[in-house]
Amino acid sequence: MNEWIVSFRAALETLDRLGAESVVNQALAHLTPILVVDQIVVPALEQIGLAWEQGDIALSQVYMSGRICEELVEQVLPPSDPDRKHQPRSAIVVLSDYHMLGKRIVYSQMRASGFELFDYGRMDVDELVERVLAGNIRVLLISVLMLPSALKVGQVCARLKAAGLPVKVVVGGAPFLFDDKLWSEVGADAMGRNAAEAVTIVERWMREMQ
């Protein structure tokens, strides 16, 4: 298994789509599609996320890795596949600012890890709160790049709490990386330091909610 993870990660970091596909195909001869996702794709993406956080690889590699994995997983585990993970209703959004890359990376990695989630695009506080309540969302992933946007997460969390909806909020983006107390200050339930960590957090919540 380890060798597959090592080969798969190496292929992703060098943007070798065919190499990555070859590893997945080799693994599929021995494992079900969902096990390939859980035991090869997700661990490789976790390692890549950690390597980015430590400054060992670049965001461009994280982004392109997520894109490749999303495409591969789409092939072996289509959205209609009953093996797709049973999960609470989840959504991802860019709050207030206009920087979309972080959300795109997390969205790709969530889908590459077998999750389905709503992509809310970019919203302001009022629209987001309304949409989350109407959509009965249980897990909300919020991405920001600017400090004022990060502080607006506080308004979202307070209003969702006041509405009584049991929604868990995970935040991510540069302001939270540069100030590790900010996520709790704004009332979020967790911070993902990288995209793979956001996936891990949602997986943990998924188990807790079952």
Partner: protein, 351 residues
């Protein structure tokens, strides 16, 4: 020494009278003159007055002609979204299909009202301070401008998947950025801050930087008729610091994510450092913590000159309170005077 002498001495890898403070404040000027951020940026006179008041209030060693990054995109046909409590943001990308790059023509500086306001601001600041205070202009690097032109995700795909079109875009952007930088120098800017966060190893691997961002920087900087500071806008630079110096830049703006002592050693007197106070955390610093962070930065990078104290992003967030900025100025005046004979003992106790 005046601010200019202090800065030039430091950039010459010598110790001036004290560490130069490059407090890059922008929207704080709006507070000083009692205007909203959008109103503030609508007239050059507002920004001249704001910058002059900030210079006096915070006792920094530079003036900053920078408005906001999206002002360059206004010249390309883009629009700006003003926020009440932070920097104006860039609206929708102007390139929505890669094919548009094939016919892209760089805009003339003379026909862009926003850029002309910036030039008027620099001229006005130059009239006020002459050669006594460095005036910093800003040009977004041709390599980083496409994040606003087409969105970061589309741009990364262009770099990896369409090298010829990428090259075409770079040539258009180099023409624009060089013209823009030189117009600011002609208006009175002392140096140009060349914002190039995409080149940071936070964003692209070193090998790709050597083939892209560095090549573009070599072409652009060789045509800019004045000194430049390459700023990574919070991104990491340590693995490529020598290669950034090879582009001919004089200063590198470095990240709070990296150790200043390691950066100073890697710079090896070939290039000066600007940084690396954490502008995000700064919002909730106490005055005592501000003093501690100033001491830490000076202790790690101040000796021998070649160091300008500033934030790590190239812009102090609007939400950072006055008390903190005043405390930074106080701490520099208290601990930044050369020779820095307190440093060894302090590092033993605190590092």
């Amino acid at each position: 020494m005046n601010a200019m002498q202090r800065t030039l001495t430091a950039l010459g890898q010598q110790e001036p009278d004290r560490v130069p403070l490059f407090l890059l404040t922008t929207e704080h000027g709006a507070k000083e003159v009692g205007l909203s951020i959008e109103e503030y940026y609508s007239r050059a006179g507002n920004v001249i007055e704001g910058q002059m008041r900030l210079l006096k209030k915070y006792r920094a060693d530079c003036l900053y002609g920078f408005y906001y990054a999206a002002i360059e995109m206004e010249a390309w046909g883009g629009h700006t979204i003003f926020m009440p409590d932070g920097p104006p943001l860039c609206g929708s990308p102007i390139i929505t299909r890669a094919e548009q790059i094939d016919t892209l023509i760089p805009p003339a500086i003379e026909t862009a009202p926003g850029l002309q306001r910036v030039l008027d601001t620099i001229r006005g600041l130059k009239e006020r301070v002459g050669d006594s205070v460095p005036i910093i202009g800003v040009a977004i690097s041709p390599f980083s401008l496409p994040v606003m032109q087409m969105g970061f995700d589309n741009y990364l795909e262009l770099i990896y998947e369409q090298p010829e079109r990428f090259e075409r875009l770079m040539q258009a952007n180099i023409t624009f950025s060089v013209n823009w930088a030189n117009a600011q120098l002609a208006a009175g800017a002392t140096a140009i801050c060349y914002f190039d966060p995409v080149s940071s190893t936070t964003n692209i691997p070193r090998e790709l930087y050597l083939k892209t961002g560095q090549t573009v920087a070599r072409q652009a900087l060789s045509r800019i008729k004045g000194p430049t500071a390459t700023h990574m806008a919070s991104g990491r630079a340590l693995p490529i610091i020598g290669e950034i110096a090879d582009t001919g830049t004089a200063i590198i703006g470095v990240s709070a994510l990296e150790d200043l002592a390691a950066l100073k050693a890697a710079a090896n007197r070939r290039v000066s450092l600007l940084g690396n106070l954490n502008g995000i955390e700064m919002r909730r610093w106490t005055t005592a913590h501000a003093e501690f962070e100033v001491r830490r930065a000076i202790a790690k990078a101040g000796r021998g000159g070649g160091f300008l104290l500033g934030d790590n992003h190239g812009e102090i967030p609007w939400l950072v309170p006055d008390e903190v900025l005043l405390a930074i100025g106080d701490a520099v005046e208290r601990w930044g005077n050369y020779p820095l004979d307190w440093v060894d003992d302090w590092l033993k106790e605190n590092d």
